[in-house]
Symmetry: C2
Subunit: 337 residues, 2 copies
DNA sequence: CAGATTTCCGGAAACGTTTGCGGCGCAAAC
DNA sequence: GTTTGCGCCGCAAACGTTTCCGGAAATCTG
């Protein structure tokens, strides 16, 4: 069966305590015994049981990850960043998926807790706060990624969604557009709220009217973008430009526009958000703003692990700056009567 | 601190043994005590420690996942499928990333072992076989995904890469092309080998010559595809059609073609492999063959978990059929002199 | 009513570690 | 020659479960 520290101790002719000390380079130990233990461990192929270790030490060196698996490339990038940082620090990742359902999220949280994770990285569902209330009661260190609660005393790493929405909308306004629609994300998410706020700020700042009829909410998917675009573009007074909250939704807009015979950017200027890797290579290269998902994952994991090392410390709320990426989909400067 | 089964037992006024039986619905137990235990567990918010449970039972209900994180959408889809199946069966996922390095993979394997995973799903690196030799020695049930070793007695779920390459190449041949280049993947991977074999089979079957000069290997990335395409397309006798092993590489071809002033499909017919979600929405919608990554993940996880339940059983080697997806990038039928 | 069976429950061992505590031998100090 | 100190090591408890085994009470059998 499994080779334990007892086997190592026996073949080395020492006690388990000595074997443990030799393997962990802890405590005083004679050089000959240390060598014998290490040799025995080597030949037997001994691998310590992290579960047993976790049980007695109280630390598992496992980080829980709970994301709402939008199959979006953004989450893949995010995961990648988390993975890099965790691996570098010798942590392993326990992976769960809330599928954007609070019930599912609560279930996952219970599982992660029972696995004795040392800390947790999550993108909250945000339909309600039962998940974070649970976390706060359990005093498990956690870190919010991508989404946050403005009034919550919790660590987070996000991009400045307001600035992102503002950048993109300002860009469209500068190109001469006055009727700019917004295809927003699910209303309960802080990302959707932020980008919408930025959109309205830009409109207000340049004296463009905000038209409720040019705003619609949709899922963060291609299908969601498609349906939202149909709603917005089939109106008689359709907008001349459209800001989709995410690139994935913008892809749905591309599809809808094709079906409606609208050329992009000639008949409809389009911009998205996130700057996924493929945004540059779409049917029409996409103007967007960059959300550095990988960096968000890395920073989040690093901060969380730092908190685990030193115990409690000041609140860490990181807001990364977005960057405007101009491509063809937003078109050239024009004047509208 | 953490609420244990001892706390539950104490507040319920029973022994730990009884508490355990009540919570697991095992063994005979009086209805009143059962009720008291369940009530106590409820009010205390008791969550059993899976680590302690794993330690004594020998089963952790954790599946290890080791993929070589091509940031490719294919791996995201694969992970998604694994996740769905595992979640449905009450398993949790421990996630690792070999980054296509055998050294890193070996390190990850050691970690996963020490975490007492019940089984392992992996996409092997394939530069050598140290990883699977290690696995075979350790008698940990494992399942190969996407990539396989033809001569190895191990479970796997893959798509028929030979058929995929054959389908795509045949399609290009039917369109009239005679000089079809192939941008293959890393030579050590079974996916690259399979798709290349299918390509050669199709050529041979229709009497088209195989030209070593029209073949090049590149990484499974956009950058890899770009570099490979530059090599192939800057020749004086460049091919009229190009089969890129993966869609991601095909995107790189798109970029190279744009730079070289080649129109697709007029100047160069293009096809890829995998059928990623965005293939339909690229600059030129991509002809490709479908590798059902999500299904591969699901099937793999299900088969592995079945093996864990019933113990040893017959070898499970699943080969899914690919499907040709024709879009604009391969162009229309033509004749070449 | 004595014995046999069943039902229910608690004690304790086991899983594989880490670590506090105490013991042993040996050298230095008095 | 007896103490003191120290370096080295082993015993055993602890972490939170599950489960085997045995005991006590309750029920049944003859």
């Amino acid at each position: 069966m499994r080779v334990t520290i007892h086997d190592v101790a026996r073949t080395a002719g020492v006690s388990v305590a000595t074997a443990s000390r030799a393997l962990n380079h802890k405590g005083e130990i004679g050089p000959d015994k240390r060598a014998r233990v290490l040799a025995a461990a080597q030949t037997l192929g001994y691998a310590p049981s992290s579960m047993a270790r976790a049980l007695v030490s109280g630390r598992s060196r496992i980080l829980g990850v709970l994301i709402n698996n939008n199959a979006s490339p953004v989450y893949a990038e995010l995961l990648r960043g988390i993975e890099d940082a965790a691996n570098a620090a010798g942590f392993t990742l326990l992976f769960s998926n809330s599928a954007d359902s609070q019930e599912q999220a609560l279930h996952c949280l219970a599982t992660l807790q029972s696995m004795h994770v040392d800390g947790l990285l999550l993108t909250p569902v945000q339909t309600d706060r039962r998940d974070i209330e649970l976390l706060q009661r359990s005093s498990l260190p956690f870190m919010l990624l991508l989404r946050h609660f403005p009034d919550l005393e919790a660590d987070y790493v996000i991009v400045d969604n307001v600035a992102g929405g503002y950048l993109v909308t300002s860009h469209l306004l500068e190109l001469g557009h006055r009727r700019i629609g917004h295809l927003a994300g699910p209303a309960h998410t802080s990302t959707a709220q932020g980008r919408l706020t930025g959109y309205r700020q830009a409109l207000a700042e340049r004296g463009a009217p905000f038209d409720q009829g040019l705003l619609t909410h949709a899922d963060y998917t291609i299908a969601g973008g498609y349906e939202g675009a149909r709603r917005l573009l089939e109106r008689s007074d359709r907008p001349t430009a459209l800001f989709a909250a995410t690139d994935l939704q913008a892809v749905g807009v591309l599809k809808a526009a094709r079906e409606l015979g609208l050329r992009i950017p000639e008949d409809l200027a389009l911009a998205g958000g996130d700057d996924i890797e493929l945004a540059e290579f779409l049917e029409v290269p996409l103007t967007t703003f960059r959300q550095p998902a990988r960096e968000i994952g890395m920073r989040g994991a690093e901060i969380l692990m730092a908190r685990l090392r030193v115990g409690s410390q000041a609140l860490q709320q990181v807001v990364l700056k977005p960057k405007l990426i101009v491509r063809r989909s937003s078109g050239c400067r024009r004047t509208f009567s």
